[in-house]
């Protein structure tokens, strides 16, 4: 068992397994022997795609859906983007629909894969739910769906179908909220001080995106409700993440790109409050400036990301979504505060986000082998559960 542990801890693209399950495997004396042998013989060719797939792949859908939303916002006639509007309007609308369709297809494919994995590899899914990083990515499909809904060229916000879809996508978010936030302060092994890590901000982002879309639909109360859920937990999480308790689970070096989520959360809050209060007031500005500061802070620390950049992995997709959301917030800011600097900011951030997303797509196309890990990231959990049940 320890050998297994070591093997998985060494391969960087794995998510490290917390050691609390070790006692269960060691207690099952003879079974550990067989399980070790079993996993030794399992090579990458034996493990199917389903086993190697995990919720972190929804980063790709997050990135693409947010790109679609960015393009739509930039193309809006209300956007006073002097520099960008001329470029954006020359691009034919069919290109935008193409992007939207690609995003939708990717999202549907990933959801389908994950559904199949739920049915066929339920143990892996359970293991993932229990993991401090994996559990947060369960919000990712719903966030992607909501953003796609917002970016859709086919439906208007006051359409009945639009509202039904919003409900369909927001209810899972609220259910997950109850489960995960409840765990934060009630369940011993999963206290916030132990499980907090930068990916926990995805839970907050889920609430804030739901609030954003609700406000655009005109449902102010639901919007304020989800916003308050999101912002309260964001406050607690922000403080906890900054404190970096010694006992908390640390993030493996390969997952350092998720630090960019620090940028995404305040930007989403700023967007949400902007649609709730119908103007980019001081609160929105403060949240946007905070995310700008955090962006400057992360960008000025390239050493933090060096190890994760050595080898391409799906974690690299974590760069795209926060940059896109920041660009969106900058767009709203430029709309409200007219001037040279806000427009330049919007221009720079939008270009950056487009370039990063394109680069990631190119990398993924070129290195399809690396995009899937070679080992099952949750196999230890499987064995633990397998031997104990």
């Amino acid at each position: 068992m320890a050998q297994n542990q070591r093997r998985f801890n060494v391969t960087n693209h794995q998510i490290p397994i917390p050691t609390l399950h070790q006692s269960t495997t060691n207690s099952t004396g003879t079974d550990t022997g067989t399980s070790t042998r079993a996993s030794k013989t399992a090579s990458s060719s034996d493990l199917s795609i389903l086993t190697r797939f995990h919720a972190g792949y929804f980063r790709i859908s997050l990135a693409l859906c947010s790109q679609a939303l960015l393009w739509k916002t930039l193309a809006e006639p209300t956007t006073d983007a002097r520099a960008l509007s001329s470029i954006v309007r020359t691009i034919p609308s069919f290109a935008f629909i193409l992007l939207w369709s690609i995003a939708l297809l990717t999202l549907l494919l990933l959801c389908l894969l994950y559904l199949v994995r739920c049915f066929l590899r339920f143990r892996s899914v359970r293991a993932e739910l229990a993991h401090h990083v994996g559990m947060n990515y369960l919000f990712a499909p719903w966030i992607s769906f909501l953003m796609l809904l917002q970016a859709t060229p086919f439906l208007q916000p006051d359409n009945r179908l639009y509202r039904i879809l919003w409900c369909a996508f927001s209810v899972p978010i609220v259910v997950l909220d109850v489960k995960i936030y409840g765990q934060w302060f009630t369940q011993g092994k999963r206290f916030l001080s132990m499980v907090a890590n930068p990916t926990s901000q995805i839970t907050v982002i889920g609430n804030l995106v739901g609030a954003h879309v609700a406000a655009q639909m005109g449902w102010k109360e639901s919007a304020v409700c989800m916003f308050s859920l999101g912002i309260t937990h964001y406050l607690v999480l922000f403080v906890t993440l900054y404190q970096r308790f010694l006992g908390s689970d640390s993030l493996p070096a390969m997952l350092r790109p998720v630090f960019f989520l620090f940028i995404a959360a305040p930007s989403t809050a700023s967007l949400a409050w902007d649609s709730i209060s119908s103007s980019f007031d001081t609160g929105c500005k403060m949240l946007f400036f905070l995310s700008l500061f955090l962006f400057a802070s992360l960008v000025s620390r390239p050493a933090l990301f060096k190890r994760s950049m050595r080898r391409f992995s799906v974690a690299w997709w974590a760069y795209s979504f926060p940059l896109t959301i920041l660009a969106l917030a900058a767009t709203e800011y430029a709309q409200d505060v007219k001037g040279v600097i806000p427009n330049v900011l919007m221009l720079v951030l939008s270009v950056l986000s487009v370039v990063v997303t394109l680069a990631l797509m190119v990398f993924t196309a070129l290195k399809t082998n690396d995009i899937l890990p070679h080992d099952d990231p949750f196999v230890c959990y499987n064995i633990a559960r397998g031997t104990s049940t």
């Binding site: 403080v239 993440l241 404190q243």
Partner: protein, 572 residues
Amino acid sequence: MEQTELQVEIPSVLKQTSCQNIKDFDYVDYGNGNNPNPLENAISDKESYGESIAGSKITKLELQEVVIISLPASPSGLHIGQTKLVLHSEKCENTDQNDTKNPYPQLAKQKKFHSQPILVRENGDRKVVHSEAIRDHRFDPFKTWSGRLERQISNLRGKPTQEPDIEAGASQREEIEEAPGVDRYFDALEGPELDTLRATEVSVLPEDEKWPFLLRFPVNAFGICLGVSSQAILWKTLNTSPAMSFLHISPMPNLILWWAALALILFVSFVYLLKIVFYFEAIKREYHHPVRVNFFFAPWIACMFMALAVPPSIAVNLRPFIWYILMTPIFILELKIYGQWMSGGQRRLSKVANPSNHLSIVGNFVGALLGANMGLKEGPIFFFAVGLAHYIVLFVTLYQRLPTNAALPKELHPVFFLFVAAPSVACMAWAKIQGDFDYAARIPYFIALFLYMSLAVRVNFFTGIRFSLAWWAYTFPMTGASIATIKYTMAVTNVVTRSLSVCLSAISTFTVSTLLVYTIVHAFVLRDLFPNDISIAITRKKPKFSKMLSHFRSSSADSKDFDSSISKNSEI
């Protein structure tokens, strides 16, 4: 060659060493061709050591054993004094290097504590080394480029210099280039300002001698500028605010204080600039100190206070470019320090948070206030947002008093007054940004008032604490609270608020004057305003004989008032 044999009972600590084996120690080259001028190598990195090259003169003597005791220059635990024993005996004996008298081999590596060999020879050429010449080189690793800058300057001025020992210098530089990690500061130092050496630690510089003045000049000195310039703001507000016009304060105090603050800032900046030029390594160590790093914000905050306190007779409207110039260093420092909190290895906030971190937060709010005064719109909001977010984090962390927190003082100390600083300046900044003293400004104001009261009623717990320069930095929160109260009085004018303003202003003025008296007394009468800055002189690694040290230190006369006794002996 006469050889005298001295039968001296050597304490177990002192052993004879072979002069051949240990390059680090002084040993005499008696013209034996085998040794490549070891004495010259050992001492050649000392600049004005020319007259003491006894080795070159003693060409005719046999290789003799010279027992030299190289103690750490501050034998604080060993209290054996500056013993210089020189024994001549017939032969060298090979002894294990580990049995040397120097129980701190890593100190020997780091700093060349060459003892001064008094070579007493029969034919009587006494070469006694001047102690001043050696003392210079002990501070070399703290100097810029390990002393090479000084040598260059001496070269330029035409003074004769010694050929630097490249080997010794290189190993010195390797050791010193890296400042100690943050863990070392917490292990080696104690006290609310992390400025007292623990009993188990030694300093790399001599503790019982007066260090060069520049090396003793800490960055805390900028705290004086903070204190005086905030007083200038207070008197300006008392003069100009209509709600306090019943006091009939003249503009004179503001003018005098402003000029005094300006002079102070220029003086302190000039001295510190000299320190940067000549003792850059010491600056690096201060920067890595968990408490001192926050004082690097102090010069910029003091300049902003000056801009806020500028008397109306000198300038009314300041140009915005001043704001940009002053906020840029704060922004860069912030990026570094907050980034470290978020992801910087060992500098976890749960471990390093201490009340002095408030200084890094206050800079944001002061900048927001100044920018709003100048009429800027977006910049102040930017810094207010950043300051607010990080202030919430810091406030929660400090209030939690986490058990992992190594830096919070267990007892009360004036450093706690820094808690009052951030909310009082934040409320003023918000009021200026919004235009009036609304509820969002009143909430931080009341928090500041509450913190002030809870510290003020415990003022009797503040007695018996050793005075230090950093206390000046703790006066500006009191002044800030007074100014905030005056602004509040402008919004809500009644007897209670007016009397509160008067009361708080009186307290803050009284405190500052008392502190001024204390400072003058310590500066000119007691002459210990700038004691040896122990906290930058900790070793990179824990001394190997730390337990023995603590035993020796505790058995010595007054180990507790160790620092104060040293500082009494030293001059400014």
